[in-house]
Symmetry: C2
Subunit: 248 residues, 2 copies
């Protein structure tokens, strides 16, 4: 693929451009985009014309730039997450209504928790998770449940890359993940809001390894933890069954 004088390819630049947008920056001026993507402004204007003509990016009437609807369409109509999301949504609605709390569906991706879906509820406790947002593994119940139910080589690989971070937060890491596996769910006090506790139950494949995790955030010390965990484990089994039926 053709490289620019600076040596990075068109695709490198495209990924940096898309990466410049996030939940806090859904719209950017061309200057801000050029700065965040580390692309000279003159080059940025030229790329922008081509990206807008394909509707991968769009300009609003104030000249600000945002992601185009065509990009969303291309990325979503055959998304790898589609079957998982379709199987999980009815159970997420049940949890959302029965527990009255925000409900998340997440996967382990590139050593982080990637949130695939989220149902919110007015009046539920604070929760910083956004769809397609990322959260750290060692600081969330989602991450700990995903890791505990991963294949041994995945746990080993994760620890090789993040041992210090993990053992600082979880000095008895191995005992802790053995306990998560034994009880079938993970819980962890909120790292952004310490008044809350995250609870997460894994959705397992037929070999007993996680494919995703379903989770809620409940007020701390409310006696809500055990009932929430049981409800989540029930929903997780239902989702796993719906996924397997779909496969067969």
């Amino acid at each position: 693929m053709a490289n620019s004088p600076s040596g990075d390819s068109m695709l490198d630049r495209l990924v940096r451009i898309l990466d410049a947008f996030d939940a806090h920056n859904p719209q950017l001026t061309v200057s801000a985009l050029s700065r965040r993507a580390d692309i000279p402004k003159a080059t940025m204007y030229r790329l922008l014309d081509e990206l807008v003509s394909h509707d991968l990016l769009a300009r609003d009437n104030t000249g600000q730039v945002r992601l185009g609807l065509r990009l969303w369409e291309l990325a979503n109509r055959s998304a790898a997450t589609y079957d998982l999301r379709t199987a999980a949504l009815p159970f997420m609605e049940d949890i959302n209504q029965l527990l009255g709390q925000n409900t998340q569906l997440s996967v382990l991706h590139q050593d982080e928790v990637l949130i695939i879906e989220r149902l919110s509820r007015p009046g539920s406790v604070v929760n910083q998770a956004n769809v397609a947002g990322r959260m750290p593994v060692h600081r969330t119940s989602m991450g700990m449940a995903l890791l505990a139910f991963s294949r041994p080589e995945i746990i080993r690989g994760f620890l090789e890359r993040h041992r210090e971070l993990m053992t600082a937060a979880h000095p008895d890491f191995h005992a802790e993940i053995a306990e998560i596996r034994r009880i079938g769910f993970a819980s962890l006090d909120g790292f952004i809001d310490s008044e809350t506790t995250g609870v997460a139950a894994p959705i397992l494949d037929e070999a007993g390894y996680q494919v995703a995790v379903i989770s809620v955030v409940v007020p701390r010390d409310s006696g809500a933890l055990q009932p929430a965990a049981l409800a989540l484990r029930t929903a997780a089994r239902g989702i796993a069954r719906a996924l397997h039926i779909r496969d067969s």
Copy 2:
């Protein structure tokens, strides 16, 4: 942007590659991908390596190719549809449960109906709509409701491009959209399954023009049409209010 000998840019080829995947073809062999994207196989292999290294595409263990999770993440975390979807989902759940039918949220995009969100329900009538799928404007209640509540210049532009198709299906087009505006919803017999009827109500901005449409498919001749229309109009008003509160 650097062009290949055939004169199309890297971005043209990337869009064709992403466009080769859809709900019916979530995974493709390299040969099939090369054919569908109209890119020589040798070039395809080279592009594939770079696309996989960025996780825009992914290879599964049988060598088939699918969209990468990173593409999904980049396209979703600041999606233009995010606010709309967040405002609409609780109301879509209500409709889904009260009417017991699949519920869609759609927008008008490039002269077609683009489905932004869908909640399914076991036992509901047949419905071909998929998330990020497209449907024709003139054959769906979604499309007719979106068009009827569009600005006059959008209706004119649409008719200039698609007059024959539209007037063949709707000989009294202008009377029909006037009636849709008067009663506040559109209904149309299913064009894939003639035993069903689509019902759609627009979500309006403060100037009275559509920003999206919420719809269900009900069994035909069941007396379900009028109650469904009233429920959808109620939900559409709730969504509009939730969107405006968010903006202010």
